[in-house]
């Protein structure tokens, strides 16, 4: 699999006529209706909207975690909608980082092992050095061998941030990253997120409820019942 990392591709994310519906016991349920989206490299975007408006569904499509019912997505020049699952997995590993509301660390692994994992999946020999450096960057150099259970929510989310940035992704998706944290801890995590984003020149797609937080991004997309408004 050859992956283009040409920054010259102006629109790093292109989505055309994107729609998603799911089959439920009551029939076909539309979740997203005809989304068109162009995001430039290095841009930061906030996606806002009420609970259930389809935000998570949208980023799951953009990140290649799920397939749309209709429409086209291209990431960095790769047509995601033309790929099979293993192809999309390779794209995720190379281009994308994730931060989730509920952290999603592997409970059986230590902080260091959690951060090393994405690098190890590509067979990177320097996984340990890189992971240690990033954990130090997020202020957890003294918690390397702790498992998620032994860490606070804020600390867990820092580990998740380190894991997201360790592969130097081109695009970072964050789905309500402060949703499970108190406001003070949340604020420090967001600061850290934006700092890391700056340092790495990453394109940021941030899902949030928080208007203040949204305003820190360059552009805001509002979703209502599956449509952009």
């Amino acid at each position: 699999m050859q992956i283009q990392t040409d920054i010259a591709v102006e629109n790093i994310i292109v989505a055309e006529n994107l729609a998603k519906s799911v089959m439920t016991s009551e029939g076909l349920l539309p979740i997203l209706l005809s989304i068109d989206l162009r995001i430039k490299a290095g841009e930061s975007i906030a996606i806002v909207g009420e609970s259930g408006s389809g935000k998570s569904t949208l980023i799951s499509l953009l990140a290649g975690l799920d397939t749309p019912s209709t429409g086209m997505i291209s990431l960095n020049g790769h047509k995601l909608t033309a790929m099979d699952e293993d192809g999309r997995a390779a794209i995720r590993n190379e281009l994308i980082g994730f931060v989730f509301q509920s952290f999603q660390l592997l409970p059986g692994l230590t902080a260091l092992e959690n951060v090393m994992l994405p690098l190890e999946l590509t067979g990177d020999k320097n996984a340990k050095t890189a992971a240690t450096a990033l954990l130090k960057r997020v202020g957890l150099s003294h918690r390397l061998s702790h498992t998620p259970r032994q860490l606070s929510g804020g600390e867990q989310q820092r580990v998740a941030l380190a894991r997201a940035f360790v592969t130097r992704p081109v695009i970072l998706f964050a789905d309500e990253p402060t949703g499970n944290l108190d406001s003070k801890t949340g604020a420090t995590i967001i600061d850290l997120l934006f700092e890391l984003n700056q340092e790495n020149q990453t394109t940021l797609i941030l899902v949030t409820h928080d208007q203040v937080l949204a305003s820190r991004c360059q552009r805001t997309i509002k979703l209502d019942s599956g449509s952009m408004v």
Partner: protein, 829 residues
């Protein structure tokens, strides 16, 4: 009632989740195997008791080597008992140049007093039930006799010197005794013709059976009267002793089958406990909400209790049905060993399996289920509030209790039960610790492994307790299977190996003294190699140092068996080959002093006979006393004549004796038997090859039946595997989703799952090999005295097969995890 409806409704909803399926499967397996065994045992028991009289052909039977004292007949007449008598002996029949060793039975008027005979005429379809034996001058024969001697109905058949007419084909004989040595086909005649056969002579080997029928109290009175008058060679028959092929082989089989069904129950129980635990944990939240809605602790227990009872009833019912089928198959497998007419099972036996099902459910599912009662309603607000775990005493106590009750039921022996439980528990504990230690050790290697292997191994280490249970479940099952298979094969191989080329394959018994020289001459002429000729006097050991031997022997021991029947007593000047003196001295005084005896070592140990002890024997109605001069060790597996008791020459001179020898006859020379038996009609020739073959069949059938049940424990092992897999399913789905979000391919997940389960199977396989080899080694060297050699195939095949099967089964249980869309990480789990 509405609560019950609610319970059923909830159950129906829950039934779609996997853990209930596992629970039900495990329960069905446990009930099926215990029902099958209980039915099997029950029908056997009934067959034996219901048909006791039929088996004996009378209410009371005395067996004796001599004819009936006339006083018995007088007494029986006084008590208004009906009488009959049979005499059985072996004789060689020759017709149309064919020769056959037949078991002749001469029956009196009135036989059979109980039960019946069945015969067919030339038209084989017409089976007729008869309540009397053949008329004088007639013979009824088994079909085998006709084909072996090229006879047809209506032909004459000569028994000894008497010509009889073959008038019927005998198809069923109520009191047929079939042990390994009496499988020769039956010829039945009237005892009025017995004298004229000329076969019955002093010292010839005849069994008389005196049979009585009458009122219960009269029989009891007669029994008491007889007991005072029996000489040691006469014995009141007992169904358990006198049908050894039923009595010992089958009761042993019943015991082994029972114990293997306990393994099935234990392993299924583990699966049930695991499944219930997961079920319980998944219902904490729902229970908290129900509690918030106002249900009391008692209501919660009732609600879930109802669900489990419904489940238990359904699963146990199905298990009973399946158990019935399995039991039919068991009888089919063992049909060669069983009487033709097997009694119907009692209702209680079917019910037993059902009760076992419910008991297993209570013992293994109740303790984890009780936790639901403890769920606090506050949990709706604070998810982390976990109810206290159930007391370990309750968890293990119940399981231990039910296993103890079951073992007792199958062994009927409290001491043995305690020993089995103690040893079993200790072994389980030690093995558990061993596996646990091994897993922890493997954990230390984690940092040095590649990513795939690390994740695979981590899967095993995540819940060490569950992994240990699974490994033990598989190992125990596999060990049982390996043992029953290996021991059988080795036992049979070993017999073949031990018999050197040209080892004696025939025994000749009942050679009369006046014929001995001629017989030996005959063998020389035909170039047949034979062993020494030993004189034999039939006698029983009755006293040791003037103490009745029955008071000394322990039940079911070699000593008991040896004192229950007549021994072949012999005398010799020289110590026979392959005998070694282990204590005392072989007679050395010249001339040799009479009244000395040399005793075989194992029997001596068993009966606690020491040098210089005074032994008393009876031969017929006379007594022989002898002093123990030496103890001998010998190898019983050689096909030479071996003796428990060898007397010094002169001791037995006063008693009627016959001679015995063994010889080797190659297949091509079998026709020599023809001439031999024609010339010596009273001589019995045993074909050892045939006896071994028969024994091999029995052994194969028994082990087959046992293996059959072990398949159930293998199935139960897989339910433990699946229960464990389901217990970790949520975690696996989450882990899979996260790893795939980070860019891992599905094949990576597949690989780590295969490695995890492959390792599980591998460890179980290796453990199996080690345990089985250790057991086989000690069994062979300590009990069976067979040469032990490690089995290469076992070492290679068991771990490979173990890891292959477990990997495939485990993988198939969670293959959909790898296919779950990674989008799951975005939804709250």
């Amino acid at each position: 009632m509405s609560r019950f409806n609610l319970a059923v409704k909830l159950l129906w909803r829950d039934s779609r989740s996997g853990e209930l399926t596992i629970l039900v499967l495990a329960l069905i397996i446990a009930v099926t195997s215990s029902t099958a065994i209980s039915l099997f045992a029950d029908r056997l028991q009934r067959t034996m008791t219901e048909q006791t009289a039929d088996f004996l052909a009378a209410d009371l039977v005395i067996t004796s080597p001599e004819i009936q004292p006339s006083s018995w007949s007088v007494k029986a007449h006084e008590l208004k008992l009906d009488e009959a008598q049979t005499a059985e002996f072996s004789s060689v029949l020759i017709e149309n140049d064919e020769m056959l060793l037949a078991s002749i039975k001469a029956v009196s008027r009135g036989y059979p007093l109980r039960g019946y005979l069945k015969v067919t005429g030339s038209d084989y379809s017409q089976e007729q039930t008869m309540y009397q034996g053949p008329e004088p001058g007639n013979a009824w024969v088994e079909k085998r006799v006709l084909s072996a001697l090229k006879l047809k109905l209506g032909d004459p058949l000569t028994v000894g010197e008497k010509k009889l007419l073959v008038s019927q084909i005998l198809t069923y004989e109520t009191d047929k005794q079939g042990d390994f040595y009496s499988f020769s086909p039956r010829v039945m005649m009237n005892d009025a013709d017995l004298q004229s056969t000329g076969i019955i002579q002093p010292g010839s080997h005849v069994h008389y059976f005196f049979q009585y029928r009458g009122e219960a109290h009269a029989l009891a009175e007669f029994n008491r009267w007889l007991k005072l008058r029996l000489n040691p060679s006469q014995r009141i028959m007992d169904i358990h002793e006198d049908r050894p092929e039923l009595g010992s082989a089958l009761s042993r089989a019943e015991r082994y089958l029972g114990l293997s069904s306990i393994i099935v129950i234990l392993i299924s129980g583990v699966a049930i406990a695991m499944a219930t635990r997961r079920y319980t944990e998944r219902h904490f939240n729902a229970t908290a909400i129900l509690r918030c809605l106002g249900l009391k602790q008692r209501d919660i227990l009732w609600l879930y209790g109802c669900q489990f009872i419904v489940l238990g009833v359904l699963a146990s019912g199905l298990g009973c049905l399946l158990g019935w089928l399995v039991q039919q198959a068991l009888f089919h497998l063992l049909r060669g060993l069983l009487p033709q007419h097997v009694a119907n099972p009692g209702l209680l036996a079917v019910f037993f399996g059902f009760i076992i099902g419910m008991a297993v459910l209570v013992a293994f599912a109740l303790p984890p289920l009780l936790r639901l009662k403890q769920v606090s309603p506050l949990r709706v607000l604070r998810r982390e509030l976990e109810p206290l775990p159930t007391s370990a005493w309750l968890v293990y106590g119940l399981a231990f209790g039910i296993i103890a009750v079951l073992i007792e039921r199958y062994t009927h022996d409290l001491n043995l039960t305690a020993t089995l439980l103690g040893v079993g528990l200790l072994t389980l504990l030690l093995l558990g610790l061993l596996v646990y230690g091994l897993l922890r050790l493997a954990g230390k290697l984690l940092p040095y492994m590649g990513l795939t292997w690390r994740f695979g191994l981590q899967g095993l280490l995540r819940n060490t307790q569950a992994s240990v249970s699974q490994i033990l479940a598989f190992s125990i099952t596999l060990v049982a299977m390996v043992l029953s298979f290996t021991v059988r094969t080795d036992l049979i191989d070993n017999w073949h190996k031990q018999l050197p080329e040209n080892a004696p394959n025939h025994f000749a018994l009942n050679i009369f003294p006046e014929q001995q020289v001629a017989f030996q001459q005959e063998m020389l002429q035909n170039g047949i190699r034979h062993s020494q000729f030993y004189p034999v006097v039939k006698g029983r050991l009755v006293e040791i140092n003037n103490l009745p031997v029955q008071k000394i022997v322990s039940k079911d021991s070699q000593g008991e068996r040896a004192t229950h029947r007549e021994l072949s007593l012999t005398w010799a000047e020289q110590l026979p080959d392959e005998n070694k003196i282990t204590a005392g001295q072989w007679w050395q005084d010249k001339p040799i002093q009479a009244g000395l005896v040399s005793v075989e070592q194992k029997l001596a140990d068993n009966l606690k006979i020491k040098l210089h002890d005074q032994l008393t024997f009876t031969a017929g109605s006379q007594q022989i006393k002898a002093t123990v001069a030496s103890i001998r060790a010998l190898d019983w597996d050689t096909m030479r004549p071996n003796f428990y008791m060898i007397f010094s020459p002169g001791t037995l001179d006063a008693y009627p004796s016959t001679y015995l020898t063994s010889f080797y006859l190659p297949e091509a020379q079998k026709n020599v038997l023809n001439t031999l038996v024609k010339k010596y009609p009273a001589t019995t020739i045993l074909e050892v090859d045939l006896i071994l073959k028969q024994f091999k069949t029995i052994l194969t059938q028994l082990t087959q039946a046992i293996n059959y049940l072990l398949y159930f424990s293998l199935l139960a092992g897989f339910t433990v595997l699946f229960a464990a897999v389901y217990a970790t399913l949520d975690y696996r789905i989450q882990e899979g989703a996260i790893i795939r979000t980070l860019g891992a391919k599905r094949s990576f997940l597949t690989k780590i799952h295969l490695i995890e389960f492959g390792l599980l199977g591998l460890i179980a396989g290796i453990l199996t090999v080690v345990i089985s080899e250790a057991l086989i080694y000690s069994l062979y060297s300590k009990v069976m005295h067979i040469d032990y050699s490690p089995n290469v195939y076992l070492w290679l095949l068991t771990p490979v097969a173990g890891s292959l099967f477990v990997a495939l089964a485990g993988y198939s249980g969670i293959r959909h995890v790898a296919n779950k869309s990674p989008v799951a990480v975005l939804r709250e789990l």
